[in-house]
Symmetry: C2
Subunit: 355 residues, 2 copies
Amino acid sequence: MRNAIRQAVDITKVSESKIGQVDFNNLNFGKVFTDHMFVCDYVNGEWQTPKIVPYGPLTLDPSARVFHYGQAVFEGMKAYKDDHGDTFLFRPDENFKRINKSSERLAMPEFPESYFFDGLNTLLELENDWIKPGFGNSLYIRPFSIATQASVSASEADEYKFMIICSPAQSYYSGDVSVLIAEEFSRSANGGIGYAKAAGNYAAQFYPTNLAKKQGYQQIIWTDADTHQYIEEAGTMNLFFRVNDTLLTAPISDRILDGVTRKSLITIAEKEGIHVDVRPIKVSEIVDAATNGSLKEIFGAGTAAVVSPIKAFGYKGEHYELTPQENSYAAHFKKALLDIQYNKVEDPFGWRVKV
Amino acid sequence: MRNAIRQAVDITKVSESKIGQVDFNNLNFGKVFTDHMFVCDYVNGEWQTPKIVPYGPLTLDPSARVFHYGQAVFEGMKAYKDDHGDTFLFRPDENFKRINKSSERLAMPEFPESYFFDGLNTLLELENDWIKPGFGNSLYIRPFSIATQASVSASEADEYKFMIICSPAQSYYSGDVSVLIAEEFSRSANGGIGYAKAAGNYAAQFYPTNLAKKQGYQQIIWTDADTHQYIEEAGTMNLFFRVNDTLLTAPISDRILDGVTRKSLITIAEKEGIHVDVRPIKVSEIVDAATNGSLKEIFGAGTAAVVSPIKAFGYKGEHYELTPQENSYAAHFKKALLDIQYNKVEDPFGWRVKV
Ligand SMILES: Cc1ncc(COP(=O)(O)O)c(C=O)c1O
Ligand SMILES: Cc1ncc(COP(=O)(O)O)c(C=O)c1O
């Protein structure tokens, strides 16, 4: 809990929780939401009193700008419960800072820090029963902000809604994934909004991803739009390549999301003496490394998937399979991260924040 | 009116029109909407029965994908009334085809042609009184489609809403505009979604445009994201440059919207013997032409602004003013286009479609 005096959050509780109807052993990601949601309206140049209300539908004019001009940003975080029933967030300041960075790029008003954390903490206390203990169980938290102003003129809105909704999540093992390296489509431009968690960045990926799926790949590794010779990131994960015992990851730019998981892994690796080379990665060197056997692992890093091993990739019509490793870095990092998140070990970096 | 047998459109009329409350001499673009709207839901893999209902708010789950992943496309068209009270659309097939092209790129279901035109025609008949005769008056028509499915998993939705809303518009003279040529920010990437009328493309432009406004420019001329050496288009207009008596316009690509106004102007110009050079345009040649006096005019072309003269541009800290022309191509093309749209002249190209 933060020490700051809580902003007044207006709370309206549900009369009866729907938690009894939820099968926590069969959760589809992002489908079931908790009893309450956090809502704060931006009107007349000011964020109004934040509210927590029963989870329920929004009423918006058909001309609301979010529908027409995509003024919308979001975040993805998780709350974890340890064996003593205490709840923790992981580096929540990073998500708070990032949603405001995204908002700035989309010409949306920044959200005040105290509103964000007071709202989030109050909401998580209310939804305490929805956060299940046990490794892999978590409450997925989705803060987002949308332009609600009713008018289809193509400029930034002057009315917004900032919300936080929460969805219980299970650890799921979807199998190691195969990815296709992009040769034609791209995710973001120099000077564009790729570094922002802007809604529009995601819809743009579905069609190329569907084409990849038809070829048997679950996701795309995006490359630079200009030459398609440099590796950027995946749909909702940053990427790591282990070549012999060195880890490679692309530097952050205005085209790549600055992932919290990615930077946490870099810090953990450095502490453990694993060398991380943060530099532009050529597709050709990954192909070469796969061919000569020095490419040991590829994995994605992101809040939803944690650390996600990639077992194969496709490029220019060729398919490259990686050999499973005994001492996998991916498995090691995943455990190191989850141990911190679930309060199983010391937290030398001060990342865990108790709710 | 099309000959095709009308799809059944379920109609619920308002009990009383709000038209009496509208001041048609003081219309802000896109703020006032007519009495009814067209709505069609996509559920279980099918577009359901289209409906026309009183204009009113939408009710959507906070997890609807449009809010989180920007799956949203739109169109912009106008209905024009001539002096006999007949209403016309301008090349509506182009808008219909384009929204489906946009939808395909955003992994959204295409909308059936008969539903679109029957819905649109029925709606326009109902809203006949909202379409005011008189040069420059029109009814702005906004078809759009949004992902409504309630779930925050990052893939395409399986539920959508296709809608048409209408807003009366006046001809407005906003003064000749000054534009800033982009040197750092960009609008779209190779292999991206720039050619689609995707909601997310627009929000991305607001922040850079606001920075330009601080320097006294109303809009940005986007350049290629890669080198910033080639001119692409403006926020909601394609661009034409008149160098001596030749018109230059950039070719359509996956980064540039294939504007109906642009291609209509090319056709008109060719018919009139004005040479149009459709080819990549270097910023440097425009700067040179401005410096040596051969750059006579710049204008934007788009449904909302029709033909919009640009009087000056900024680039690399320099400001270039154009000399007003006696025989302006912009003024000529604007009149030629409006004459066709308002049924004042023959329509040799078959562009006008009577409602
Ligand atoms: C595009 C993109 N890249 C990377 C990530 C991983 O970021 P984080 O580790 O902060 O979840 C995400 C998901 O948040 C993302 O949307
Ligand atoms: C990005 C963009 N370019 C150009 C145009 C002009 O296209 P049209 O002439 O079809 O209205 C528009 C507006 O529709 C647009 O949004």
